[in-house]
Symmetry: C2
Subunit: 237 residues, 2 copies
């Protein structure tokens, strides 16, 4: 699905679990996760077992299990007729996603601060440089991949077994919609608080890191709120 011939750089998306596992199922799940996180799977897109299987050159069997796992986290939706699709966004769902992100991610960032230092600050700065480049180039897909890497480079440092999976689930849910908004309003209007976050990591200031992450979430999701009314006809007026 994705061309991996390019040399690995900081900020490249990777499977959340250990890399030693090489079951087809995990490979399929990783592919779909990345497709959702980078916006290649847009809301409403139909996902069929045989279609995905053919695309990934595997039998429908591992696809079934991967899709089932992703549906369990609401990253994919099983409709009443059994068909599978990327979930569509509604105003209330978006509001809830923002609420959940604001509750959980600053918590994770604050807990991560103790495990972050100059080395990680440099890595984050490298990712952020590539983010700026992708924004200038209008490359939404690369931007989304790097933005995910930026946040999860921080979050993973918290060593969380519970909160981190919850946050991953949230990202899988809002990312596809994020992509459609970028396609409509562009990525140039994007303002983030990555610089403040990097500075906070450098200073080992947990409170400042929490604040930067919280601000970053609000800014990013506000953009989605702006893009929502046009996307959902049944919006709240």
């Amino acid at each position: 699905m994705a061309d991996r011939s390019r040399p690995r750089q900081a900020g490249d998306a990777q499977a959340p679990s250990a890399a030693v596992r090489h079951s087809l199922r995990d490979r399929v799940e990783a592919s779909v996760r990345e497709a959702l996180l980078t916006g290649r799977f847009v809301p409403g897109r139909a996902v069929t077992l045989r279609g995905l299987a053919e695309e990934l050159k595997v039998s429908p069997m591992p696809v079934r299990e991967a899709v089932r796992a992703l549906s369990a986290g609401h990253a994919l939706e099983i409709r009443a007729n059994g068909r599978i699709q990327v979930p569509t966004m509604t105003p209330s769902r978006l509001a809830e996603l923002v609420r959940a992100r604001v509750l959980l991610e600053p918590e994770l960032a604050e807990a991560a601060a103790a495990h972050l230092g100059p080395r990680e600050a440099a890595a984050l700065a490298a990712i952020d440089d590539r983010i700026d480049a992708s924004l200038d180039g209008g490359d939404a897909e690369t931007y989304m991949r790097l933005n995910h890497s930026f946040h999860f480079t921080i979050y993973r440092a918290a060593g969380s077994e519970v909160l981190l999976p919850l946050v991953e689930s949230l990202w899988l849910q809002f990312a596809p919609f994020m992509r459609t908004v970028y396609g409509r309003v562009g990525t140039s209007a994007l303002i983030d608080h990555h610089k403040e976050a990097i500075e906070a990591v450098r200073a080992r200031d947990a409170a400042a890191l929490r604040k930067a992450v919280a601000a970053d979430i609000r800014c990013g999701m506000d953009l989605l709120d702006i893009g929502l009314p046009d996307a959902v006809p049944s919006g709240p007026g």
Copy 2:
């Protein structure tokens, strides 16, 4: 798995999704969920596809998908050798579960308050009466089922699509361990804040409901903390 011949009462556990679905996979998943939530599946217990299939009188196929879905939410654990088991508890994981519950559930309760009234307060009171009876009888399994019903009768009223599944995931994770603690210290030491919650629902007082739920969580989980050191030899000192 469970005997359903008893007439349906308020507080009986039920599948989270619509009841009209009658695929074997959903039935299997519902069975395992209830087994986890009531503590019939204890931490460390091995779960095999063929074993579960035989127990539920289905082929291994629907079991595979159900287990995959539950593993995605960390309700079951896939070990490095591929075997499936109920996850074991660690002090850090328990602490995280408490943190996540305290963050999310009061939020859900506060949002639910607007949709709850005297009718729901009566239903909650009915469940709480049965809870008291189960505590007197020392029936931990019934207690856990009813306690789950009590909380989710409140939470479901919030009409949440995002937060509710997250909280369901948390319950599936701590419930099996909860059961082992009850088996060790008994259920008689249990103090909850259900009465305050019912009163808050009656008064349509969102802030009071949030407070009652938060207090209830802390009390219940503190008991687990007490039971933890004996359960996990590698505890924190």
